[in-house]
Symmetry: D2
Subunit: 358 residues, 4 copies
């Protein structure tokens, strides 16, 4: 790492993901924020939108000249809606910057799956092949030289980290994956919407998008890639149900899978061992000990993801659990982890702050 | 119904279930509270423990002479820990009262399953046969003359109401039941325990008892009885995982099951039709319309339980959802519904109050 | 009371006040709902807007023909914005119904104060004189025959109930009143507004409208009327600051006043005695005992208001506290209490349900 | 600052203040944690008590040999109950370390006030004179060489920062101070106590300790010192009422004071100017602009304190508002700010992390 700081710009900086990115880069020793853009709040100081940043990040929001931004920046992070990213990112790339995109527009390798899931035609399908799926735990080599990184969805990150050790080793049945996941309210974004009003959300809990949520196919495609490594059956589809819970940040996946016959002497202890071994060199995947189970509180505000699993002999079922902060490992902080990979920094740079969630 | 009020006593009246019972009977036009007991707070007025009841229920708590209470009461409701109920209830019965018990002590027909699940020897196994499982939707005939009613567990109620139409008609595979359930914090009871302190519970979410939670076997036994009616495969075990969520009251079950081959043209619409038909005469089971999904907010403070389901053709999976108030239909108000059955009253008597959960 | 039910219509029925009114009247033994109106949701069933009411109130919302509604109804309750009520209420009155209005439009006797506070010209100032301020504790005689009732604001109700015993007896200095009040989020109404989004409101707490909040002059005018009865100094103005707290329902006023020289041997005990004596015949004002202090939890979902006070000898300051449900005694349930007065029913009719706020 | 890190030990490290200290020092570039002690959890890893720290702080908790700890540490921070600190701190000082104490035991200059407020005899009154009150904004010179620092109470910090500009310049009447303050639940500490259980605290709000709360005299003594600087009337007592609100962290003070005749042309604008001028060089006191009012959300997890004020001409009353994180500026992070002063570091060292409170 050299002494010069990485020049970072964020397009769409005033959503909750944007705010978490700003928080992260303000605390990052080798990065500096160059441009922050916002369609709605251009001309205002960032700390007028988020008063918590007063004195910490008072950068003035710009409407955004993407050509200039690309030229000024080593890395541009886009937090734009899908369908908008697919048009904006190519402009940035053409002007010589590297990009991490938060939308679903570059997460798929299979164009048809993307177009079916998002009900959109992709204007730049050639970029799907180039884009690196930004899960550093599985793609860190590719990230080093990536020009375009597709930051994974929050639910996919939580699901894939929990499933990967078992998929890559063929320890579970490829057609048995059921993911029951729960997200905090910030996952819905920063917007005026009665559905997310305090009085409507507090003391509420509900499933949504129970069939056909977009993250289903993103999870399935990546599960496919992971299971290919096992040389056994390849995952083609998964059952996935998201739920909305009355907390601001956090995500928990409770996953039900059938052990493969090849999983010798499956037990809760063995499941834990598989995790411990698989993630022993990872900075941000924390395998809990014994029968301790993941809790969203224990990852609050951080880039950590906690995992553990159990085996139920009564029904021959494996239960896997993972917890992350949906804005942290599930979005903005994972993007910073990927950025660290892209610029040759230790992955934990600027990310070891732990936020007590008292 | 005659003009004389049903004389009700509650043993263990100061827990959250007790408070919900008191609330319910205070509002009940044909019941009156005779004795309220508490080991910890005997001698105090009920409204000193729950100030919200000041002027509404100022009954003085007694330590409790069970013989006298039985003699004074038409119905005694026990909200005692398991292992205590099994010793107390027989005394009450012997002294001529009818009883609704909230513990797990009389919920099982199979003694061995009880003793394994609760790790206790049962002092009065002969009562297991007599006890009626207090789900009015399935056992209302038996309730009319029941001397002893075992009020179902909260998770079992939520699970069984969701599953029953499909189990009794053999529409789902008996060995495929996965129940992912979420409870509000009041389910843990009223106690001084750091685990349920505000700062530890707010903005937290976690699974617990992930293998071997006691309600697993209670659900499985009742699923067995329901599936027997179908003349097809009988349920022997279920996969069940409870979670703790940061709201005070409410419970949601998200259930994953495989359709049986006999479920012709399974679809989301068909699932809804099955529910509509099965529960068309029920007062408290509300089948939502179309793709509306149950939410704990919509049953807050009430005896209602909302259900609906969907079919995922990608994975050939049925998803069933049910939401109830864990203290309402999941405990105290369901006991009042059962009491109405026991005393020949319309089931909705005193229970149609809807509490807006704004 | 006769056997015929009071015919009630609610104009603006889909806000939180409307929902609390519907809840209240559904539970009321001598009232029936005739019309419910909504500009935004006309044509939908009430239970589509509030699913909790499914099976309880499935009335279809109407856009509203005010002439017809007036003719069909014994009582119309308007939950409309100020400036709209002042035009709508006269139409209702002219067509022969009685009205309880929830806006600020008919709460003032002094026209100039209204027009300055609301920055509006009043189209029917003649009605200000006729309108009865709907605090049954002080105006129950006038309510019996009232044609038009102005339901008090939430903050005024909470403040006036706490202050009245001392004002009417001249026990406090008229120019010393400081009211620091806190409201739950439902006080802001049911709307899509980022300021009241879950992620913006949870774990937040702030003052607002710190100078010039409209309720300031409403409180001051009524304090003036109450203090006139003492034959001593008359209140002309009060210091008032509202705050927004992260709970859905509830309101607490913490009031600081200087004792008048005439308050002999002022002490915490004496303050409690004044309250006990003054409110000894009231159904809904609960004077707490000893040093117990009001808490919003203890009035949740009810029409009760809890009060108590203390004296600080170090600074010769009286502290008065009152807690109510801002939608209950602070709005809709107080309107039902007033309606009971208007129709000669016991004030507690349909209002003694206690909602446990576990 | 030299390259060697400051050796820090924390006595009583497992409470919420302890956890915030650990978080702070883990992120501090020039400090390292040497010993963490706990009576209840000695032998366990810190991350077993707070799983969020797994991989971040896995230090093993010790019961604590205070002599050894003192010898090993440049600075010992004690988070002990009052009455325990007064006996422990002298042992630490005698063994050559510097100390920041979080209890009330060394905050007073007037022994009698301490003994009356805490109902304890002080075993080492000679230390009261030596101890520096750890508000860097007022005592930073004294902190540089301090051997013993008494970290201020949370309510006093919030109150004094708001009042200081007006007290030191004699702009308000010394006998008119009324402080209405609200704290999050973490202020009650980490303990098993039904009063702070989720179900008892959520959707609740109440005053407590309404007369005679210990912080009253701490505030009054420091107000006295500040007002002495004005050469005008000296504060002798203040009216103070704390309240408990349903959020985990945060504190807001709403303060009512009468302007002194010397406050020329008092207005909201003038009040803001006084703040801007007085705190223009402070890192952590943020004076809001215009009519923006402090909110606990905007200081969440930080060492910042936000202030602003308004003037109400109707009642000639000044309202001052301040918001801080009760565990941040109100406790642990302020202690780190003081430690920075003690060791010659810029005050903001390690403290500029902003925690987004989404």
């Amino acid at each position: 790492m050299n002494s010069e700081k990485i020049k970072i710009s964020i397009i769409g900086a005033t959503g909750y993901v944007g705010a978490e990115l700003v928080k992260g880069f303000v605390n990052h020793p080798y990065a500096e924020i160059i441009h922050l853009t916002s369609q709605s709040f251009a001309g205002k100081k960032y700390s007028e939108i988020y008063p918590v940043f007063k004195g910490v990040c008072d950068v003035t929001l710009e409407e955004g000249d993407y050509v200039q931004i690309a030229k000024d920046s080593d890395l541009v992070i886009t937090a734009l809606p899908h369908g908008v990213s697919s048009k904006t990112v190519p402009v940035l790339l053409e002007n010589g910057t590297r990009v991490i995109d938060h939308s679903g527009d570059f997460r798929y390798k299979n164009l048809a799956t993307y177009e079916k899931s998002y009900k959109l035609e992709h204007p730049h399908p050639e970029l799907l092949k180039e884009a690196v799926y930004g899960l550093p735990e599985f793609y860190r080599e590719e990230l080093r030289t990536a020009r375009l990184v597709a930051n994974p969805g929050c639910y996919p990150t939580c699901s894939l980290i929990a499933l990967a050790p078992f998929l890559t080793q063929g320890l579970i049945k490829a057609d048995s994956i059921i993911i029951n996941a729960v997200s905090g309210v910030s996952g819905a974004g920063r917007k005026s919407d009665l559905a997310y009003a305090f009085c409507e959300t507090d003391e509420a809990f509900k499933p949504y998008g129970a069939v056909g949520h977009r993250h289903t196919t993103e999870i399935a495609e990546q599960c496919g890639f992971l299971s290919e490594k096992s040389g056994r059956e390849v995952v083609k589809a998964v059952t996935f149900t998201p739920h909305l819970a009355p907390f601001k940040r956090g995500m928990l996946a409770s996953i039900y899978v059938k052990p493969d016959e090849s999983f010798a002497d499956v037990s809760s202890g063995k499941i834990n061992e598989v995790y411990q071994e698989f993630y022993k060199n990872e900075t941000f995947v924390r395998v809990l000990e014994g029968k301790a189970l993941p809790d969203v509180k224990s990852v609050y505000g951080s880039n950590y993801i906690n995992v553990n699993g159990m085996y139920d002999p009564e029904t021959d079922m494996i239960k896997l659990f993972s917890a992350q902060d949906n804005l942290g490992k599930g979005a903005a902080l994972q993007a910073i982890q990927a950025a660290n990979c892209m610029f040759g920094l230790p992955e934990g740079t600027g990310l070891k702050n732990v936020v007590r969630g008292v």
